[in-house]
């Protein structure tokens, strides 16, 4: 069972550099059509389900606007041989 994460973007920290959008391998993120308090078009989560928890977006963000909360998958029983 693959791990899941909830990606949250603090839109008012974002300056619209688009690094996260460019580095996300699964197109989880896209730029907004609306502007934030500073006047920038900001990054937003458009496809949360596709996230593979690579954390690239959070690592790339120069303004620490992205939070990635990893949801641990439920433990599955592992069989043992005797």
């Amino acid at each position: 069972m693959a791990r899941k994460a909830k990606v949250t973007i603090d839109k008012n920290r974002c300056k619209g550099c688009e690094l996260c959008v460019n580095f996300c391998p699964k197109q989880v993120l896209a730029m907004s059509k609306e502007i934030n308090d500073k006047g920038y078009f900001y990054a937003q989560v458009v496809n949360q389900e596709a996230c593979i928890v690579c954390r690239f977006c959070g690592l790339m963000c120069p303004d620490t606007a992205i939070e990635i909360a990893v949801e641990e998958p439920e433990k599955t029983e592992v069989g043992t041989n005797g």
């Binding site: 300056k15 550099c17 500073k38 006047g39 920038y40 120069p62 303004d63």
Partner: protein, 354 residues
Amino acid sequence: MGKILMKGNEAIAESAVRAGGLLYFGYPITPQSEIAEYLAHRMPEVGGVFLQIESEVAVANVLYGAAGAGARVWTSSSSPGISLMMEGVSYIAASELPCVIVNIVRCGPGLGGILPSQGDYFQAVKGGGHGDYRCLVLAPSSVQEAVDLMPLAFDRADRYRNPVMVIGDGMIGQMMEPVEFKEQKFPPLPPKDWATTGCKGRKPNVVNSLYLDPVVEEQLNFKLAAKYEQMRKNEVRFEEYRTDRELDCLLVAYGTTARVCKTAIQRLDEEKICAGLLRPITLFPFPEDKIYELAQRSKVVLTVEMSTGQMVEDVRLAVGRTKPVYFFGRAGGMVPSPEEVIEVVRKYVEGGGR
């Protein structure tokens, strides 16, 4: 001290503080508001003054007054704010007072947008305000260079008793890069014996820019002109990149666009197209002699700007009719990509320079 990661605006602010720019007056405007935000908490730590003024018009006049009293003063703003300051800057230049003005350019005209642009070239290098004056204009192309140029800006402002403008763009201001604050040494400055510091025991100093006697006013104009001539002789700064060879194309670009051009030059090497870059660091004085010299070794000259063509006029003045000078620009907050530059270079080089 090692390198730290800093946002351009904050790095500029810190460098100014370290250079003794302890009186800052400003008014917030994107994309440079982080300068004011940073100084609001930094100035009290170092015994400096951070004061938000009611408008940019007033900021320029507060600078005028504080500079007249002999303080090392500075401000920062972005394009529309700088326009509002221009009357005061003209007075400061006329009264021969030092100050540093940082312009983190946004796109225009009008209120424009908040994304990177180089549309304020004319305003910065051709005066901006009224009357016969010039600012010394420094154009960093990285956060590190912005940090390095701030102490120089303050020194030259004091040395020439003239406004110095540091011109970046939204990208330089907003980008985070590793920076190192290196201590810079300058020769001693002459005493500010012209400052209005209280005239007890001496004749009063007067800061003024009104001269109704045409003979006196002309003398001031000629004195200022001589000062700008000194700048042309002593202050021209530029960087050459891959110009140590016969060139198919000489690129001329400053600030952010110069970085794009460097990437384009590296990729053009793979296609056996020899391109080189001349990057003016001072926009006034302009490295016209160097541009002329390099143009003679190149088939064509291409100026790349984030405007619809401003610096290209000075490049054409420098090159004259000796070589074809072309222009490529993006505007409105669009930053040219290396691919676009490559395509344009290819077009003009393969066109045989015609």
